[in-house]
């Protein structure tokens, strides 16, 4: 049985791994059958899709996952956070405010449901600048 403290630490490690671009740690944390659902796409993706996506340069030199508010239940967590990016050209747009519900089993993440607002992407990435 995973304790609430272990689930919370798992959640933190997961976001730290994304922040530090540690695909090796994410590989450990995702269960083999993990599904990641994104509201923006409205469909399920696999752990492989997401690990591959992490390696693609989306134009940020650095991204940080801040203001993490984590609440834990017996089989997972909900996290509200702000995603901040510094682009290669130095642009810093307004943060993206995101919510993720995660399911945990035996110390691994078995499902992620991610809620973002895609209408905020252009401002965040600086693509809306003339």
């Amino acid at each position: 049985m995973t304790t609430e403290y272990e689930i919370r630490e798992l959640c933190e490690r997961f976001f730290d791994a994304y922040e530090n671009k540690r695909a090796d740690i994410l590989d450990e944390l995702y269960s083999d059958d993990c599904i990641v659902w994104h509201n923006v796409f409205g469909k399920d993706t696999t752990r492989e899709d997401n690990l591959a996506a992490m390696r693609v340069d989306k134009g940020q030199r650095r991204r940080t996952y801040n203001d993490r508010v984590i609440n834990v239940f017996h089989d997972g967590f909900v996290i509200q956070y702000s995603l901040n990016g510094v682009m290669h050209d130095g642009h810093v747009g307004p943060a993206l405010w995101i919510c993720i519900v995660g399911k945990v089993r035996a110390g691994k993440i078995t499902r992620i449901d991610e809620y973002m607002d895609s209408s905020k992407f252009p401002a965040w990435s600086g693509r809306d600048r003339k």
């Binding site: 509201n39 923006v40 409205g42 609440n71 834990v72 239940f73 997972g76 909900v78 509200q80 405010w97 995101i98 919510c99 519900v101 449901d113 809620y115 973002m116 607002d117 895609s118 209408s119 905020k120 992407f121």
Partner: protein
């Protein structure tokens, strides 16, 4: 946790009330200090303003449903994921996937956070 069932009941009561157009029950679910944050503007909306908006929806929209509700309870609150189905006056049926985080005090929602994708607003509001 003995309070889990109370929190689950509150969550169900809140969303059921909106579906049924039961304004009194809806209103009783919000604590006096309640504020509601929305991801489209990242601002806290007052209790009065949010209730007025919901009341207007309940009175003018033919149908509002919260489908595929998945709720989890944590210490001090709950999170519900659902798909909102709204039938508009012109017959259009709009949908939006929503994540609703509610912080609870004394059996009422004291603070709520609603996350959804306004990038898909056409699916929700219909063609303009």
């Amino acid at each position: 946790m003995r309070k889990d069932s109370e929190t689950l009941a509150l969550c169900d009561r809140f969303f059921d009330a909106i579906e049924k157009g039961d304004y009194e029950t809806l209103e009783s679910c919000y604590a006096p200090e309640a504020v509601v944050w929305h991801s489209h503007d990242c601002l806290y909306e007052s209790r009065a303003s949010n209730l007025a908006m919901l009341k207007h929806g309940m009175e003018t929209l033919p149908k509002m449903r919260f489908r595929d509700r998945r709720v989890r309870v944590f210490e001090g609150g709950f999170v519900q994921q659902h798909t909102m189905h709204v039938t508009r006056e012109n017959g259009f049926e709009g949908t939006m996937d929503v994540c609703f985080v509610g912080y609870v005090r004394d059996g009422m929602i004291s603070r709520a956070y609603e996350y959804f994708d306004t990038g898909q607003v056409e699916k929700f509001l219909g063609p303009r």
